[in-house]
């Protein structure tokens, strides 16, 4: 006979303390002692998140947490068609560049998105060029380590048409 069968055969819903119940409830109580600090911390985190974001629609919450990635991707997505390709020249730190590359790929799929922190990066057939300058707090967190010449950017965009501009980004075609 399996343990489960034996248990259900003499199942009792009354309040009695068998040795098994004492062991199980003791174990659960001990478990809760260790769990409690995490639960307490999570109550605070959930309340903070609700206070900061709870009233906003989903997109506004995304924009608030992904600054300035979401707004920049929105600006690019408005002008670059789904079949288009955009080269993003990004004045940002290397780890941030990896982050933006993955975020822009997510937001802008199926568009082709290439991101480089070199102002002389080759266009490679992309018809759109976005010049993205990260925010000061992000750059303070991780300094720029690429190659960036404002004169070079001015020269390569001189013959292009500016199709959109938003905080932190200008988009040329």
């Amino acid at each position: 006979m399996r343990a489960g069968d034996r248990k259900s055969a003499c199942y009792d819903t009354g309040v009695n303390f068998s040795r098994e119940r004492i062991l199980l409830l003791g174990l659960l109580a001990l478990w809760l002692v260790f769990e409690w600090p995490n639960l307490e911390e999570q109550v605070g985190t959930t309340e903070q998140a609700r206070a900061a974001l709870g009233e906003m629609p989903w997109q506004a919450r995304t924009a608030a947490l992904d600054t300035p990635g979401y707004a920049v991707a929105e600006a690019i997505g408005r002008v670059v068609p789904a079949s288009g390709c955009v080269l993003v020249l990004a004045h940002t730190g290397p780890e941030h560049a990896r982050y933006y590359q993955s975020r822009f790929s997510y937001y802008l799929y199926p568009r082709q998105v290439r991101l480089s922190d070199h102002s002389n990066a080759e266009q490679k057939g992309c018809t759109f060029l976005a010049v993205f300058r990260d925010t000061a707090p992000n750059l303070a967190q991780e300094p720029f380590r690429g190659r960036w010449e404002e004169a070079e950017i001015a020269a390569r965009t001189a013959g292009m048409k500016k199709v959109a501009a938003a905080p932190q980004v200008e988009i040329f075609q």
């Binding site: 489960g4 409830l25 659960l28 478990w31 989903w58």
Partner: protein, 456 residues
């Protein structure tokens, strides 16, 4: 809409495995059905994509409707609902606290505030597959993205299914994927712990799992990662292998093989698990010189259906395999730091509570409970997965400290439910051998009490 999709998934999966699931209640049947349904739907979407069938919801549901009509003739045998004991009510209340708290947080947060792989790898592919209406477009462009294109596709394809049901690439729907798998994990754990152990032990240990901090973090804070999904399939694969070892029913073996194959279709760690389960089963069948073809078919068919197509497809699109095996050399200097880091982290009560402490103590309980040598399958598979993690560290592919920091907790969280199941089975067997007051004696006490109160 996601709730509807989750219920539908459980129903569809239940149509397939319902008759094979012995004595589960409605929640357990949903949980096991959800696990099977998510895997089968992902494989269905893959097959449709390769065959050029459009991903239309009605076309997806058509074969399921036919299966449902056929199944109507045979309803799954569900356990008769029993009123919970007061111990179970306490366990339920304790178990609900953490998931309800975390679920509220997950619904408010649109993004993970740390570790963005959920979006860069898993949910990105889900969105790409959904927008392309198949897998071919993304795979042809796989080299463009930092999206680990060689990783298996269960989670992205199930995410695409959620988008199909939602009618758009809605981020909240995709992000709810992990909580859905988490609740299925709790239901599946309860089913296995009850079937292999006892009812009250199952209730208490399920409550403990529900509040296990790192498992909660992975399911809700890191929503969109594949780790919660994988932990569900590891638990079910191991649980049903152990059940098969005890019952020798080929349906248990089929479920073990099916869920282990789905682990391999979820993450590469699942392939490592599948190899161990496959080896265990084949060795036993070979030693018993089994002539019945059904166990052999049960063990071979699921990996052929769930793993092989992806291997072929990956080769066809020249998607580079994970470079884990291509590391070319072994860095044995990582062995001791890797093992020590794993042990130190596993035994931190603030993160894994008492999970691995209980696992360490459970051989004693298992011995007292005389569960037999087959019980070692459960902790053995936990150790196997941990050994795989240390083996990965030995490749020296990444800086060890960085790698430990980004992988160790998620891998331990994958096996923590299985570790708890091993402990639950041992504790149930141990306590079952304790002397119990006979029901008649208890009834007698109640009768005496009733008489006494009448007398008053």
């Amino acid at each position: 809409m996601t709730l509807l999709a989750a219920l539908l998934t459980g129903l569809l999966g239940g149509l397939v495995i319902g008759p094979w699931v012995a004595g589960g209640g409605l929640v357990s049947l949903w949980a096991l059905g959800f696990a099977a349904g998510a895997g089968l739907l992902s494989l269905q979407l893959l097959a449709y994509s390769l065959a050029g069938v459009p991903w239309n919801l009605w076309l997806i549901l058509l074969p399921w409707a036919a299966l449902g009509a056929w199944r109507l003739r045979r309803r799954p045998a569900m356990a008769r609902p029993e009123w919970p004991s007061w111990t179970e009510w306490i366990a339920l209340a304790a178990g609900l606290a953490a998931p309800l708290l975390w679920f509220g947080y997950e619904r408010v947060m649109p993004l993970n505030t740390r570790d963005w792989d959920a979006w860069a790898i898993w949910l990105f592919k889900a969105k790409a597959f959904y927008l392309d209406g198949g897998v071919k477009g993304f795979l042809a462009r796989a080299g463009e993205f930092q999206a680990q294109p060689s990783y298996p596709l269960l989670v992205p394809l199930y995410g695409a299914f959620l988008f199909i049901v939602a009618g758009g690439a809605a981020d909240p729907a995709a992000k709810a994927l992990s909580p859905c798998f988490f609740f299925a994990l709790l239901g599946a754990f309860y089913y296995l712990a009850r079937r292999l152990g006892s009812r009250e032990v199952a209730a208490v240990f399920t409550a403990m799992l529900a509040g296990l901090h790192m498992v909660d973090i992975v399911a809700f804070e890191l929503a969109g990662y594949a780790d919660t999904t994988l932990s569900l399939y590891l638990l079910l694969g191991a649980g049903f292998v152990y059940a098969w070892w005890k019952t020798q029913q080929w349906t248990d073996l089929a479920l073990a093989s099916g869920f282990s194959a789905l682990a391999g279709w979820t993450k590469n760690e699942g392939l490592f698990f599948l190899a161990a389960v496959g080896a265990l089963v084949v060795i036993r069948l070979a030693r018993e010189r089994t002539r019945d073809w059904r166990p052999w078919a049960a063990v071979a068919a699921p990996p052929l259906m769930a793993v092989v197509p992806w291997v072929v497809l990956r080769a066809h699109y020249r998607v580079p395999a994970s470079d884990l095996l291509d590391a070319g050399h072994w860095n044995w200097g990582n062995l001791v730091p890797g093992v020590m880091a794993t042990i130190r982290q596993a035994f931190r009560p603030a993160v894994y509570n008492l999970t691995f402490w209980l696992l360490a103590a459970s051989p004693g309980a298992a011995r007292q409970g005389a569960v037999g040598a087959s019980w070692w399958i459960l902790p053995g598979l936990v150790l196997w997965q941990m050994a795989g993690l240390v083996g990965a560290y030995l490749t020296g592919r990444n800086d060890l400290q960085w790698w430990i920091g980004t992988s160790l907790d998620r891998i331990l969280a994958q096996v923590a439910p299985l570790a708890l199941l091993a402990s639950a089975v041992a504790v149930a067997a141990w306590t079952a051998r304790w002397p119990q007051p006979a029901p008649a004696a208890r009834q007698g006490r109640r009768d005496r009490k009733a008489k006494a109160s009448k007398g008053k």
